[in-house]
Amino acid sequence: MEANHNINLPEGSIEKQTTTLNFGPTHPATHGVFQNIMEVDGERVVSTEQTVGYIHRAFEKLAERRPLYQITPITDRLNYCSSPINNMGWHITCEKFLQIETPKRVDYLRIIIMELARISDHLICNSIVGVDTGAYTGFLYVMQYRELIYEIYEEVCGSRLTTNIGRIGGFERNFTNTAFTKLERFLKEYPKVLTEFESLFTRNRIFMERTQGTGGISAERAMNYGFTGPNLRAAGVDYDVRVASPYSSYQDMDFTVPVGSTGDNYDRFLVRNAEMWQSLSIIQQAYNKVQSFKGTEAEVYHAEVPEYYLPKKEDVYTKMEALIWHFKIIMGEIDLPKGQIYSPVEGGNGELGFYLISDGGRTPFRLHFRRPCFIYYQAYPELIKGGMLSDAVVTMSSLNLIAGELDA
């Protein structure tokens, strides 16, 4: 987009200069602490330089100090809008590394929780895109349904946001009937809400004019920048970790991967909406599969891994073996096998990878998180170059930048 001035000023004159605008780190439109020092020419953005690290919490160094089960609370705080996905991704990494096979019921329950988390993440992103274009209603309306998702998490693990859900090998307790009832209520009520949310924005003339054509990126550039997740799919590449490297029995689920074409803000919004519909369908399928387990099979909620899964308290107080395992796990006497593994999972923003290297001690030698937000935020100057300042704001929120994941 070329800047179209009506005033012709001679080159090098004092009036023909760009303004340096400091956008952030405390700014209502940057959802999270990002700073962009922008050169703006009137309303057009000429270039920008980002500063990140305002919430660097040294997760990778922290993980070198902690045994595997203590790392789960740190993974919560990566993409905190969908923390169950991070937790499950970490547990799946550990299980792959330790060669633990989880029962099917555990996998399906995990799928339910992960897709609920994906819905909650996309809800925040899309409603905040709405807020940034001026429509606050959608946000307030869908937050009610995020509360329902939080209630489901609370039934399973006790916590709303930073869930620390599950254990290596499965879950800490079986899902109660209340959890299933709440899930059914969600499945019944949410489609109507999502339809209403879509009808507010998808064919809304103002929203379309704000978001179409802004913040676009081509598929080749997106792949070169390392984009993954809804941002890459909006650009036209159908890469989804759930399909490419299936984990937790995703291969048993039947779903499609929505793909956009131009990679602009509107496509990202549509892709996230479509993914929410797909997630609903996946949850329904997984729930049906869970309901089909009867009898003792319906009581299975974890794999048998005494070295890593805390035994039941009744057993700890009565049986010697359980007591010994409890002691060994808590006091950290379990040594990890040597080796390294890279295990990706489809987070709300893309491929969340866990690169774990162990040298045989009780804590990882090195744990590196491949954080999708960090990698695709590099493309932000290219996305907003030549566009208007207000479009830069909408682009930032449609990329779904979560500060915790960016800085780790």
Partner: protein, 195 residues
């Protein structure tokens, strides 16, 4: 399976229970007048219209968004208008981890706020560094700015954030008019290096 009670029993709405009158401050009342201390009136006015500045950095910020949303509505307490300009706000709500890189920014925002100003540290990270005892995280925002109320939790439930907010309201309602000019307050700010 333990018995579970759902919150689905409809409650009869009774007007008498739904409305409660606020407590009036001590004073002398008569036919058409009510005399009380200036500080009580000012405190009453201020505490029921605190305008917060949400300084949301991480996970606690999402719980704050849930607090501001319709389920746990914070605007019932008078903070309908959240502002992002320090000049226009009374209450700085610091939610989330403050890294050492962010600390000067936080201090700058605090300095830009006009008196009277209060600070809530929401969450374990803002209160004391939380689970992040690392080289890059500030171990509590009270290293750089004076704090009035600390709300523990990781993240604190919206009810806890509202509880913290109500404690700030108590502080605001009972604050003496002369507090901001007193020697102790000046000494407190000096200890942080803020004039």
């Amino acid at each position: 399976m333990r018995p579970v009670r759902f919150n689905v029993h409809p409650k009869e709405a009774s007007i008498a229970e739904a409305i409660s009158m606020g407590v009036a401050p001590d004073g002398v009342s008569g036919d058409g007048f009510f005399a009380t201390q200036l500080s009580s009136v000012v405190g009453l006015a201020r505490k029921n219209s605190l305008w917060p500045l949400p300084f949301a950095t991480s996970c606690c910020g999402i719980e704050f968004m849930a607090t501001m949303a319709s389920h746990y509505d914070l605007s019932r307490f008078g903070s309908e208008r959240v502002g992002f300009s320090p000049r226009q706000c009374d209450l700085l709500m610091v939610m989330g981890t403050i890294a050492k890189k962010m600390a000067p920014v936080l201090r700058q925002v605090y300095i830009q706020m006009a008196e009277p100003r209060w600070v809530i540290a929401v969450g374990a990270c803002a209160s004391s560094g939380g689970i992040f005892d690392t080289y890059s995280v500030l171990q509590g925002i009270d290293q750089v700015i004076p704090v009035d109320v600390y709300v523990p939790g990781c993240p604190p439930r919206p009810e806890a954030i509202i509880d913290g907010f109500m404690k700030v309201q108590d502080l605001v309602g009972q604050e003496s008019i002369r507090r901001r000019n007193s020697e102790q307050y000046k000494a407190l700010l000096n200890s942080y290096g803020i004039q």
